[in-house]
């Protein structure tokens, strides 16, 4: 079992006729994800064919939703300039889970999206600038390489794509699998953050521990630490990337930026220590601490 997605999740792919959308739609189908519809404005009526399956393409998300009322989730493959619009289109069409992959969205666009989504409490947005999420063995709603994930009982939440793959692969090599792995994205404004997902893992009977991979910038890790100290019943293992990054420089991710005294690694490490959350100093140590937490 898992959070957010499982083997029965029905998925829409926005931008399915584009290069990226088509490529990843096929990869998701290959994994076993139930991709049942696609949408691209102006391409309604076409079909998307892959792996012997034909998937109908609609002009809009509402058309797709009307034809497939059981749609649970959508994943968006459009350029960053169109990502805010595509996200709101899905939200207003009533798709409860939206994954936005786009890297490079203007901050103001995302602010407006986040604000508007507050009036749609049944909609959850993951990303932007994220790899998506995966419930290993059941459903892949993202662009991550399938081979690095193994099914199991550890939840994972991460601001970094590659570190997610790396940590999952290391866990798998130690014969530890994951319930659900969520890449929340590296932008300064994201739809879902640690404190949104920790309660879900806390309540998921099939998750025994949670690995959270944070990085410099913002205060999401500090908020998460506070929440964990008050509410978390399961062990959490943290990792903070960018400990040696200088102030005022964006380290690849738009959100990995220390501004003044906000967003420093020290502040995050201190918050974790206060909440009694063990922090791995190296990637390898994530595995050691996870094993310890699981009593292995």
């Amino acid at each position: 079992m898992s959070i957010l997605i499982n083997k029965s999740s029905k998925v829409l792919v926005q931008g399915i006729t584009g290069r990226e959308g088509a490529y990843h739609a096929e990869k998701m189908l290959e994994y076993g994800t139930q991709v049942i519809a696609g949408s691209t404005p102006g391409k309604g009526g076409q079909v998307f064919s892959a792996l012997g399956k034909t998937i109908p393409v609609y002009n809009s998300v509402s058309e797709a939703k009307a034809a497939h009322p059981d749609l649970d989730a959508t994943i968006i493959f459009v350029p960053p300039a169109a990502a805010a619009d595509a996200t709101l289109e899905a939200a207003h069409a009533g798709i409860p889970l939206i994954v936005n992959i786009a890297e490079g969205m203007p901050v103001l666009d995302m602010m407006k999206v986040v604000k508007e989504l507050k009036s749609l409490p049944n909609v959850r947005l993951i990303g932007g600038n994220c790899p998506g999420l995966i419930t290993p063995g059941e459903c892949k709603l993202g662009i991550m390489p399938a081979s690095t994930f193994k099914a199991g009982r550890v939840g994972m939440i991460s601001r970094s794509g590659t570190l997610t793959y790396e940590a999952s692969a290391m866990l798998a090599a130690a014969d530890i699998g994951c319930s659900t792995v969520v890449g929340i994205g590296g932008d300064p404004m994201i739809g879902t953050t640690f404190i949104d997902l920790l309660p879900m893992f806390n309540d998921d009977p099939n998750t025994d521990a949670v690995v959270m991979i944070g990085e410099i910038g913002g205060a999401d890790e500090e908020q998460a630490a506070e929440w964990i100290a008050k509410n978390m019943k399961k062990p959490v293992i943290a990792f903070i990337s960018g400990r040696t990054a200088p102030k005022g420089k964006r380290m690849g991710h738009a959100g990995a930026l220390i501004m003044g005294n906000v967003g420093t690694a020290e502040s995050k490490l201190e918050a974790m220590a206060k909440a009694n959350v063990p922090v791995a100093d190296t990637m390898e140590e994530i595995i050691v601490l996870t094993k310890k937490a699981l009593g292995l």
Binding site: P80, A81, G104, M105, P106, V107, L108, D109, M111, K112, V114, K115, E116, I143, M144, P145, S147, T148, S158, R159, S160, G161, T162, L163, T164, Y165, E166, A169, G186, P188, M189, I213, E215, I216, G218, A219, D220, S241, G242, R243, T244, A245, P246, K249, R250, M251, G252, H253, A254, G255, A256, G260, N261, D281, T282, M283, E284
Partner: protein
């Protein structure tokens, strides 16, 4: 993208925000001519992308045209925190009765912009925030509705600002309009001056533009100054790399921002210091890796290179091909330690097995080896 004060003021003026008359001078002669034209007291201000210009001696009052010449001569060419002053703003001086602060910052905690207003203007607001946080009035702006005049008036009242309330509020709304209209991530007026005759004027301004939104602001492209960036950063941008020049001696190349950041941390953990951050991005082909190696090898600070790849979408064999090409063309002339894992790692190892390239199973081992070798 950071704007200079004069650029920020131009932008604000286009949104109806009153700013003092001013022009840019690149020579003392030009400064003299401008001061002559204004025939009043002027302020000569260094235009560099760094705070604390005043303290560094980069802002001086000039009483007449000849004085403007001398002050400009003193400031032009001056070094402020490592940046050479190439131009000065010659602005009409204003008669200050009060100096306030008014700024919009992207605030991740409120998932919007926070408007900050304070009676303590003309000083570093971060210092005020640290020493006297109660002196700052904060208001979270609804990014969809924007800042309305009635809200601005209330904030001005709450902050205890004295002066023409409508004019002060209009300046705040103008600042918001400029900020939202040009996709700024930071926009501040400091000081917001109330003159002795009761006018409200933006005596200094600072604006940063969201690079991700530059595509919809071609008009702001003219404000970009390539020479203000590190030449290697400019070159990296042309290749589409995410690159940051750092002050150490180990060149670091990897895929994915998180993995590269972690690689920098590991280098530091084993006693080294990174010379750069270079993310080749997802799905990089051999050509891109080749260009990355070439770029890092150009950096004279680099004494050794760490390549750390976890193949997800990126294929490890493509990375190997790029590195081998750089090696065979004689470009790769510095010690290299490489760690590759993930997708197509077997193919990569096959390609690399007869080459004089050191491969390590973990990033820690690779970093340890290269830091040691670079120290010799």
């Amino acid at each position: 993208m950071k704007l200079h004060e004069y650029q920020a003021k131009e932008l604000l003026a286009s949104y109806g925000v009153p700013v003092p008359a001013g022009k840019i001078a690149r020579t003392p002669e030009e400064a003299k001519a401008i001061a002559n034209e204004y025939a009043s007291l002027t302020v000569i201000k260094a235009q560099v992308h760094v705070g604390g210009r005043g303290k560094a001696g980069g802002v001086k009052l000039a009483k007449d045209a000849n004085d403007a010449f001398e002050k400009a001569q003193a400031i032009l060419g001056m070094d402020i925190k490592g940046l050479t002053v190439k131009k000065v703003l010659v602005a009409k001086a204003v008669d200050i009765a009060k100096e306030y602060y008014c700024g919009l910052i992207h605030d991740r905690n409120v998932q919007s912009f926070t408007l900050m207003v304070s009676k303590e203007g003309g000083v570093d607001i971060e210092e005020v925030a640290a020493t006297n946080p109660a002196a700052i009035t904060r208001f979270a702006i609804d990014p969809i509705k924007g800042l309305r005049a009635f809200e601005a008036r209330q904030i001005a009242l709450d902050a205890g600002l004295e002066g023409n309330l409508n004019k002060i509020a209009a300046m705040m709304v103008g600042l918001w309009n400029a900020c939202a209209g040009s996709d700024a991530t930071l926009a501040e007026i400091n000081p917001l001056v109330i003159t002795t005759t009761g006018e409200v004027i933006a005596a200094d301004a600072k604006i940063d533009i969201d690079d991700n939104a530059m595509y919809r602001h071609p008009e702001l492209e003219a404000y970009r100054e390539v020479e203000a960036e590190h030449p290697l950063e400019v070159e990296a941008k042309a290749f589409g790399f995410s690159y940051v020049k750092l002050d150490g001696h180990i060149g670091v190349i990897g895929n994915g921002a998180g993995l590269v950041m972690t690689s920098l941390d590991v280098v530091s953990r084993v006693g080294g210091k990174a010379a750069n951050f270079l993310d080749i991005g997802g799905g990089a082909k051999a050509e891109i890796v080749y260009n990355a190696v070439k770029l890092v090898c150009k950096d004279p600070d680099v004494k050794g290179i760490l390549i750390n790849i976890f193949g997800g979408i990126t294929r490890a064999d493509e990375v190997a091909k790029g590195v081998i090409r750089a090696l065979e063309e004689g470009i790769l002339n510095k010690p290299l330690a490489m760690r590759v894992a993930g997708t197509a790692v077997a193919e990569a190892n096959e390609l690399l097995k007869d080459k004089p390239i050191n491969i390590y199973p973990t990033m820690m081992e690779a970093a340890t080896a290269v830091v040691k070798e670079a120290a010799q």
